[in-house]
């Protein structure tokens, strides 16, 4: 089971971000997302699964995507808190994941990325197909 310690604090911290701060974070979040573009896209599967429909989705559940057993069995449901924890150190949080990436150590960068992803992953423009 995915560990839960510390999520509540992270969730509260993200929820307390002022609206104007979130708006400021959007361009930064998109810029940080460009680091993901070797493997990910919003609307379609690549080396990694698509991100459209990410929030609220169980990890390892995009139909047709070939996940690692580790990710399929992780028990994670993606939200701001689980993403924050995973993105900090993917291979430590889900040992055996094929996402061979050390992570984003800066909490502010993770927060900006997650804020941008939350909007982009459900945007009608980026995600025209029902997820």
């Amino acid at each position: 089971m995915f560990p839960t310690r510390g999520w509540i604090g992270v969730t509260v911290a993200l929820a307390c971000v002022a609206p104007h701060a979130a708006a400021d974070a959007a361009p930064r979040g998109e810029e940080i997302y460009s680091r993901c573009l070797a493997c990910h896209a919003l609307a379609y599967d690549r080396v990694g699964p698509r991100h459209c429909g990410l929030f609220g989705r169980r990890a390892g559940s995009v139909p047709g995507f070939d996940y690692s057993d580790a990710m399929r069995k992780s028990g994670i449901v993606w939200d701001a808190a689980t993403l924050d924890r995973f993105l900090a150190a993917p291979t430590q949080v889900v040992p055996g994941t094929t996402m061979g990436y050390a992570g984003i150590p800066d909490p502010a960068e993770r927060a900006a990325l997650i804020a941008w992803l939350r909007d982009a992953s459900r945007s009608a423009k980026s995600c025209p197909q029902p997820q």
Partner: protein
């Protein structure tokens, strides 16, 4: 958007590169690239070979996709001849990466991931040469970050060195593509 004139994208070494990749083994390529330890065999006693192979296989999958992406660009009919030649040169680099990564995964006891039968690309968005260049630039920028994120994870430092070598190549691709798009080719002192 200002696009560099094709004459600025001259690729004098392409013919030589193709000749080399056709006649040299991947091991020799590794030797020439300064990675003799990989050419011989990665030391399975270092680190966790299974974990290292998993990281390399993810990189291998991305390299397969990059080869396919450059083929889409080359076949798009949108690229002027020198730009197309540049795309094919970069594609050749990715093919060399695939050869080396696949051999190394095998030597680590893993099974190299095969290329997919079909890839999804935003072909509907590619309507001009700049669109193709921007698409390629995004992939190369992502590749730089992916290798940067992989380097500290390797248990075997020889593999970290090899990944860093590929990172340098991807960064050069990204810089040239940015230059071609009229953007600052090296926008910062560090990559992330």
């Amino acid at each position: 958007m200002k696009i560099a004139h094709p004459s600025l994208l001259i690729v004098p070494s392409r013919r030589r590169f193709l000749y080399g990749s056709a006649t040299l083994s991947a091991a020799a390529v590794a030797m020439l690239a300064g990675r003799p330890s990989l050419a011989a065999a990665p030391d399975a006693r270092k680190g966790d070979p299974a974990a290292d192979a998993r990281i390399l296989n993810t990189a291998l999958a991305a390299e397969h996709e990059a080869i396919a992406a450059y083929q889409v660009g080359a076949d798009s009919g949108l690229l002027r001849a020198p730009t197309r030649e540049l795309a094919l040169q970069f594609q050749g680099h990715h093919k060399a990466h695939v050869d080396l990564l696949a051999q190394t995964v095998t030597k680590l006891g893993g099974t190299p991931v095969e290329k997919k039968q079909k890839y999804s690309f935003p072909t509907g968005d590619l309507k001009a040469e700049a669109d193709v260049l921007r698409f390629a630039s995004g992939l190369e920028r992502g590749a730089v970050s992916a290798y940067l994120g992989a380097v500290p994870l390797f248990g075997n430092p020889d593999l970290a060195k090899a990944a860093a070598s590929i990172l340098g190549d991807e960064a050069m691709h990204w810089a040239v593509l940015r230059q071609a798009l009229g953007e600052n080719p090296v926008p910062s002192a560090f990559v992330s």
